[in-house]
Symmetry: C2
Subunit: 405 residues, 2 copies
């Protein structure tokens, strides 16, 4: 039984025209002899699991202090409604289909309400229905605990459901439907000659997602990667092949051996914070206290550098005021640089390749972009720049690595 998991966002069912296109994608696969397992999000929940839902928004704004357990129960209805709407549309086209809640689909999670983690998948019910010739439509973004409590997955949402099902069902492919033709070498709003990537590795797409690309959630990629199930990012509205996400050493790889850089991504609205260390004797103590204070207040740090007399890091703009207040209240000498952005050059091929950093520095200097800070990992080099210079930086880097070839 060759199963393909297909994930559609809630925007795929807002109008009949859009819904028809999503249904076409399912029907195509079915007619080719595959067994489709469809995962859907709630209407209005576009990637962001906390976006105001068109249905649940009716009751949600009234109550701000709802417990996470009850909020999950409420939110889970959004995906159930979507699943039923998809089933109705499939049946209308003459394709027998059934809707399953996350729990019915066997998505077992921990009891961390609003941000639950999938512990295991028992896809017995899905397989039974597939054997009966049904197209199975699963409500994404939700699961059930072993104590029968209903949870939502938080980070990664329905993408994660799709990946977990793809792994549990040993699917041929996990297809994530979006409104773009695939993963691009850079944001096309900034770089008009950005190209669609035919193939990309799990590691590269994770890096790009972590560095700001919004096509698929890294958690979903990690899950598929563990069992090597290919993910394909496709467009609901075109017949484009999309971007295939696979392991680097996959037999199916079409990744050019000479490709060093995969793409350029970015994160806007970042604030750089410097904490000065008054004397070498207090350095260790200062470091510990700074990181402990911020961690205890759940503030995420990025681009972290510890130097001899200063600690430098960035935080998201939304958390900057809180971070600075905390540090000042603890008596630290703090300098703040607002209005920054992080630009990242991502590519599994850069590992061990000399000269990548040189190319980056040359490109940015030529474009008169100030480099405020840098960080690098095996597959990524990131530079902090001023927000006002972000567009120039992305364009310059995209050009310098010939990504628009």
């Amino acid at each position: 039984m060759d199963i393909i998991v297909q994930k559609f966002g809630g925007s795929s069912l807002t109008t009949k025209e859009v819904r028809d296109r999503a249904i076409n994608k399912i029907v195509d696969i079915k007619n080719k002899g595959y067994y489709p397992v469809v995962v859907v999000s709630a209407m209005g929940r576009n990637g962001d699991p906390y976006a105001t839902d068109t249905l649940l928004g009716l009751v949600k704004p009234i109550y701000s202090n709802l417990a996470k357990r009850e909020m999950d129960l409420l939110l889970s209805c959004g995906e159930i409604i979507s699943a039923v709407v998809f089933v109705a549309a499939l049946e209308e086209r003459g394709y027998p289909a059934v809707a399953l809640t996350g729990g019915q689909a066997g998505i077992i999670t921990d009891s961390n309400f609003s941000n639950a983690k999938i512990l295991q998948v028992n896809p017995k019910k899905i397989i039974d229905f597939l054997h009966k010739g049904k197209i199975v439509v699963v409500a994404g973004f939700q699961g059930i605990t072993e104590k029968n409590e209903i949870t939502t997955l938080g980070r990664g949402g329905s993408d994660t459901t799709a990946s977990a099902l793809g792994v549990a069902l040993n699917a041929v492919e996990i297809q994530i439907y979006t409104d773009v033709d695939g993963i691009m070498t850079a944001d096309p709003r900034i770089v008009p000659d950005a190209k669609i990537l035919e193939v990309i590795t799990y590691h590269e797409i994770c890096e790009m997602a972590l560095q700001g690309a919004k096509v698929i959630h890294p958690r979903a990629v990690e899950i598929a990667m563990e069992k090597g199930i290919p993910i394909r990012v496709k467009n609901t509205f075109t017949d484009a092949e999309g971007t295939l996400i696979i392991a680097h050493d996959s037999r199916k790889t079409k990744i050019k051996n000479d490709r060093i850089i995969t793409g350029i991504s970015y994160i806007e609205n970042v604030v750089q914070i410097k904490v000065n260390i008054s004397s070498p004797s207090t350095k260790a103590e200062t470091e510990l206290k700074v990181f402990r204070t911020l961690a205890e207040n759940s503030i995420s740090l990025d681009l972290l550098n510890i130097l001899s007399d200063v600690i430098i890091f960035t935080v998201q703009e939304s958390e900057a005021e809180k971070a600075v207040d905390l540090l000042k209240r603890n008596g630290f000498d703090v300098q703040v640089r607002p209005d920054c952005a992080k630009v990242s050059v991502v590519g599994a091929g850069m590992r061990g390749m000399p000269g990548v950093m040189a190319t980056i520095v040359e490109a940015l200097n030529k474009a008169k972009v100030d480099i405020l800070q840098t960080a690098d990992s095996h597959t990524t080099i990131s530079c902090l720049v001023k927000m006002s210079e972000l567009v120039n930086a992305v364009k310059a880097l995209h050009d310098s690595f010939d990504l628009g070839y």
Copy 2:
């Protein structure tokens, strides 16, 4: 642990004012040391389980051919949303509460989607939460099969959920909240001096409900009756005591020994059908064919009389055309009398009492109401009258039995 089950309709949460009054009723009970278990319907589902729901109505009209399994999945969200809204409102008032789906509350049903029957109740989760000091709010009108399929209960809906939980939890009382002060001796829109009944038996309320009174579903009464759990019909908007529904021989009974008649109820828009039997030799065959034909087409008959040369019965107006067509197509000689109503005099005390029928006939004759047909059971005498004479008939009967004393 003294548990009281309280059931509120979906109309109890449409506005903050209404919601507050429902919450007051729960809080009152809690403050008196009882353990409240609350059952709620969906917003917009006012007694009629198939009324267009304010939330689900958004998607429902699009799809007429949705399978019952998926329709149940969709509809079940309505009550879940209500339960979460109640929990939020309770928490706002400082009372810890949890929402449970029907399945989580342990309502196990058969797999007859859209009209499932409760097979058993496993209230373990409810009891656990009660022990933790939580007010438990259960989504009514729904259950789960042993194969983990979500069902809705159809007939009786949330009232049935409340009764089944009342029995399983051995509740002190099941309270059904409405917008009236209790069960009345007749419809107050017709009989201005109709009175609230302080006490009524399970059998009487079942008869009154079957004969057209809309306060509580007979299925819910039957379930509570089996274990003798008292039901109280109360008003969300007043402090009235309401009407207590108990067994006739209950120790707590306050039912006056001399009360013969409990109340007058009615069903509007009934059509009388007569099928003539052409000769005595075909009588048995005709009878069989008439009833089989109507049964196979799921047409419900009422006020059935078989005489020597004619079969007389009534059907609801909505089914009359279909019934007549079927009978004519099978070659029967059919006479139809449209625009009728059935008036019923209900009272457990009439059993074996002579003269009740005489009083009815006298009252209707005096009011110049034509009696078109009659039927009687242990606790009920029903008369078919013209729709145009219904109001006079109800008033005359109410007066003649001194129900407005």
